[in-house]
Amino acid sequence: MNEYFFFAGYVVLQYVVLATAWNILGGYAGYVNFGTGAFFAVGAYTAVALYKAYALPLGLQILAGAAASALLGFGVGLLTLRLRGIFFSIATIAVAIVLETVVLNWHYVGGAKGLPTLRPASATFFDSYTVWLFFVMAAIAVVAVGAARYIETSWIGRGLRAIRDNEGAAECSGVPTLKLKLAAAALSGGLMGAAGAPYAQYLSFIEPSSTFSLNYAINALAMPIIGGMGHWIGPVIGAVLLGTVQQVVTVTVSSEVNVLVVGVLLVVFVVAAPEGILGLLKKWTRNFYR
């Protein structure tokens, strides 16, 4: 098969992870993260720094990237999740700006110029490293979706939904709201970091502005909204659909237009179908059986 399909497929899978991770906190608990780019980049730069310093293998890079971003999620949560409402969202924007500035001035990983990373030409069992990275990202996606699905159907998910519906009532019903929010923030951040960790290997290069790109934040939020936030499959549908459309548009039209596509779709769905594609499907099947 043409290697391009793996190259493009990697990006779609990466968005499956990011959208699923975002939805754990944003969809289930109702706390909106605008800083997906920062969590992604912390994973990517942690991996690059460790690769440059100790030549860590990819698996350990991913674990380390996930751990660093989970810690970031926990930290931002600890500072802001005691308060309800938008403080967490504002803090995630601030964190993204601060961390990008830090990395811009961190010369060890290339600073503003960026850093080329020499990756192996091939991997065990695979002719091309891109194909190998595709399967690595697929594995991360399976873990992310599996975690989201487990949370959704367990007592944790019910607690998070209670927080989203009414936090005061949730606390008085025995839900340890702060602990649950912190756990969700750490898990969500960690998965975003895992999605970012192989990024430098994938591009053979890393530089701050595309790694911290606002596009990650917009996509991670748009995909669950378009797919449907109430169910674990929603972000997957949104990511596959929107990710694929973006890849096609990038190749056939331009990479600027693909951002426009996301914007237009987001507005259309928020106005016309706030429960996303899943909500539409539910409505149609209900009418069908009536």
Binding site: W155, R158, G159, R161, A162, R164, D165, N166, G168, A169, A170, E171, C172, S173, G174, V175, P176, T177, L178, G230
Partner: protein, 235 residues
């Protein structure tokens, strides 16, 4: 003092320069039916917010079952046996009535669907189990508040104006429920403006005005009190 379930001593709460509670002390005995009245803004809801942990009290002590609980977060107090309903119903609106009850059942008492159905039957919501909670009527929402509080298996139930805005039939229905719960051994604190209901329900009543207790005693004693008449009853 073993039969005192709840002991509030000298509790104060300030919001900026406004003193909502000014050295309030009350004790509620195990199994008691306790009424809390007072004009709007007198501190009734603030007091129960301090007891249930929604607000932290600025001074004084709150003991429950002999244990100091002022520093505990609300969910810990619920797990120790304090459950409350909210004045303005706060259902988990994306969940069915049954799921609303599963939250406290899972997080506090370890129960499952059967217990939830049992509580719904007691409260008179059995036929609404699968209804989405944002489709309930006012009286059903009040009942859901009580049912969800009951699902935490409380020793102390605090009912914050569960009857406000209901018809007289509905008021008697809710009153019936609270009396039944009390008969099953649960201590009940009732906050209410409907005097008829408070007087019928309570064994002892406390009247708050401007953050202070102005009178405490049997319903008959409260109604006859000059200060209560001036501050609240408007006689």
């Amino acid at each position: 003092m073993d039969q005192e379930l709840l002991q509030v001593k000298n509790v104060s709460k300030r919001f900026g320069g406004f003193t909502a509670l000014d050295g309030v002390s009350v004790a509620v005995a195990r199994g008691e039916r306790f009424g809390l009245i007072g004009p709007n803004g007198s501190g009734k809801t603030t007091l129960i917010n301090c007891i249930s942990g929604v607000l932290a009290n600025d001074g004084g002590s709150i003991r429950f079952g002999g244990e100091e609980i002022s520093a505990l977060p609300a969910y810990q107090r619920t797990r120790r046996g304090i459950a409350r309903s909210f004045q303005i119903p706060r259902p988990f609106h994306s969940m069915s009535v049954l799921e609303n009850l599963l939250v406290p059942l899972e997080y506090v008492s370890g129960g499952r669907d059967e217990q939830a159905h049992e509580i719904l039957k007691q409260i008179g919501l059995a036929d609404k189990a699968q209804t989405l909670s944002n489709q309930l009527s006012q009286v059903e929402l009040r009942k859901l508040e009580l049912a969800r509080a009951m699902a935490a298996r409380p020793q102390l139930l605090i009912s914050d104006e569960a009857m406000a805005g209901l018809s007289s039939n509905e008021v008697s229905e809710v009153l019936e429920i609270l009396l039944r719960l009390n008969a099953s051994g649960i201590t009940v604190i009732m906050i209410e403006h409907i005097m008829q209901a408070v007087m019928k329900f309570s064994q002892r009543v406390v009247c708050l005005d401007a953050g202070r207790i102005i009178c405490e005693g049997t319903p008959a004693h409260i109604v006859a009190d000059k200060d209560v008449q001036r501050a609240y009853l408007g006689a």
